[in-house]
Amino acid sequence: MLWIAWKMLIGNRAKYLGIVFGVAFAALLIAQQSSIFCGLMSLTVSQILDVEGAGIWVMDPKVKYVDDVKPMADTHLYRVRGVPGVDWAVRLYKGIARARLDEGAYEQVILLGLDDATFIGAPMNVIEGSIDDLRAPDAVIMDAVGYGKLWPGEPFKRGRILEMNDRRAVIVGLARARKTFQTFPVVYTRYSQAVRFAPPERKVLSFVLADPKPGVDPGELAARISSQTGLQALTRQAFLRKTIRYYLLNTGIPLNFGITVALGFLVGTAIAGQTFYLFIVENIRQFGALKAMGTGNGTILLMVLFQALQVGLVGLGVGVGLAALFGWSTRPLAKLSFFMPWQVLVMTAVAVFLIVLLASLLSIRRVFVVDPAIVFRG
């Protein structure tokens, strides 16, 4: 019977394509907007993701997210190192600095000060120069996208000068870094250098990056650090979640994207539901004939659900495919953030199947109540 349902469905090409279009449109809108939302959210944690190797982030207890830096006393580094189970711990400076460019313009930059000895937290992909070049006096490495923003269209020029806090900084390399939520260029330097570039403050330590000894669970160690130092210690994953949760709860981003996703859902349901309903109504005599010939309502329900599932699968494939194509084709555009994790696919699939389920439920009643004697009316 499912074979008959399939043939009935594709027998009317125009209606079939109309339903698929409605579902695909909804899937496209939901997947594309959700992926942009995920892209934006990934920007908020890009600086956590860029720091490889450190399993635990230690910070002031009041810090709410990665950009909410509350400076601590440098002595906290030694307190963290003293907690049993800590393999190593290093300092990280993170702040916003005002940079004066060589032509006199001012730009804000994200300043990251890495541990002088280990460079933990350094970008993994240095494309001009090397990370060891940071050992030179006043040396900084800038992210490539930021460099392009400050000097559009200009090739990399080693030795280019910036001024931060009236101190000279020399660009010695370029690195690929993840895009940041604030869109400012990212400048990497040594910790000891960074505190001189930053506005003078009594406390300057932003984060302590730590890692557990082999065999020590990062979550347990983070809890131990917190209890012994009174600081906030989070695993990398926990800090990612905390930062994302902050943006979800304190900005209008999820609401705005949620509205678009909801609109996509409603429009998709309306188009698919209406077309599917018309398809069922047009075929009502055929369903009546099948009922007269001995097809039960249970089988009819299965047939309609199968038809709905079929258009759902095709529509989902087309919609998600188009969304992925959109993301792929906009990769060169630095201003667009597109990130499609598997959760977006699952959510889109759930939404699409809700759409087709609603569409089929709207229609199925018509088929259920159709009198098989309808076939005797000419």
């Binding site: 004939a289 010939m293 000419g378």
Partner: protein
């Protein structure tokens, strides 16, 4: 009021059947106490003016409509007492339908349409399609198996409908105005096929028709008026069937 009875084994037994449509002041009585017997192996024609209740009666006999009152026994089943699911099963196993407007599934080919009752009965496509093809071949459509209904003439579509009605070898065949959508020649061929192939010793055939040319193929003709059977006459089927012929 005459009771259409037969002395041979009875396939259909209808007693005192009434059927109302609507409620309260708007109620319309389509059947007013119909009694009817149809034996196995008989082709009964149900004739009468429009609105006299022919289609209502045949719908009740086929198990697609419940009477308001009365008894209906078809092939040993009390249709009034049967639960809805059992009535569906009864139709699936025992009844073949030929409709006025063919009611073929437009997306299915001729052979696929003819195989539908077998598919409904749970027969695999691999087994159903050859059976349907053989039935179409018997009806002279062996060369049209893969044509869609839209690619067939009205007469050919009706022959596909006949194949569909007979492919699962039902014991009751219900034909509703089988010739009304056809020209004279195709109408004659359709009735010949029904009379020659459909009527079997263990099968009863009911044909609802307005077409007086079809009367010649009946064993008996029951005349209905105003929801009642007003007369039952003997037909001439056994002498009317001519040599086999092919439709256009």
């Amino acid at each position: 009021m005459p009771i259409a009875t037969s002395t041979t084994a009875t396939a259909v037994r209808v007693r005192g059947v009434t059927r109302d449509f609507g409620e309260g002041d708007a109620v319309a009585r389509a059947l007013r106490g119909v009694d009817l017997d149809i034996p196995h192996g008989e082709l009964l024609m149900l004739v009468g003016p429009s609105g006299c209740g022919k289609t209502t009666l045949v719908s009740i006999i086929a198990g697609t409509l419940q009477p308001t009152d009365g008894d209906v026994e078809v092939l040993g089943h009390d249709l009034v007492a049967l639960r809805p699911a059992a009535r569906v099963k009864f139709r699936r196993e025992n009844v073949g339908f030929i409709f006025q407007s063919f009611n073929l599934l437009p997306a299915l080919t001729a052979v696929e349409n003819a195989a539908v009752p077998l598919i409904i009965a749970g027969v695999s496509r691999a087994r159903a399609l050859p059976q349907a093809a053989a039935m179409l071949d018997r009806l002279g459509l062996g060369n049209r198996l893969t044509n869609l209904p839209s690619e067939l003439s009205g007469g050919q579509q009706q022959r596909v409908a006949i194949a569909r009605a007979l492919v699962h070898e039902p014991r009751l065949l219900v034909c509703d105005e089988p010739t009304s959508a056809l020209d004279a020649e195709n109408g004659r061929i359709t009735m010949e096929l029904i009379a020659r192939i459909a009527v079997q010793p263990d099968r009863a055939v009911i044909v609802v028709t307005h077409d007086q040319r079809a009367y010649a193929y009946a064993d008996r003709i029951a005349m209905m008026e105003d929801g009642r059977i007003v007369s039952v006459e003997k037909g001439t089927r056994r002498t009317a069937i001519g040599p086999p012929s092919q439709a256009s």
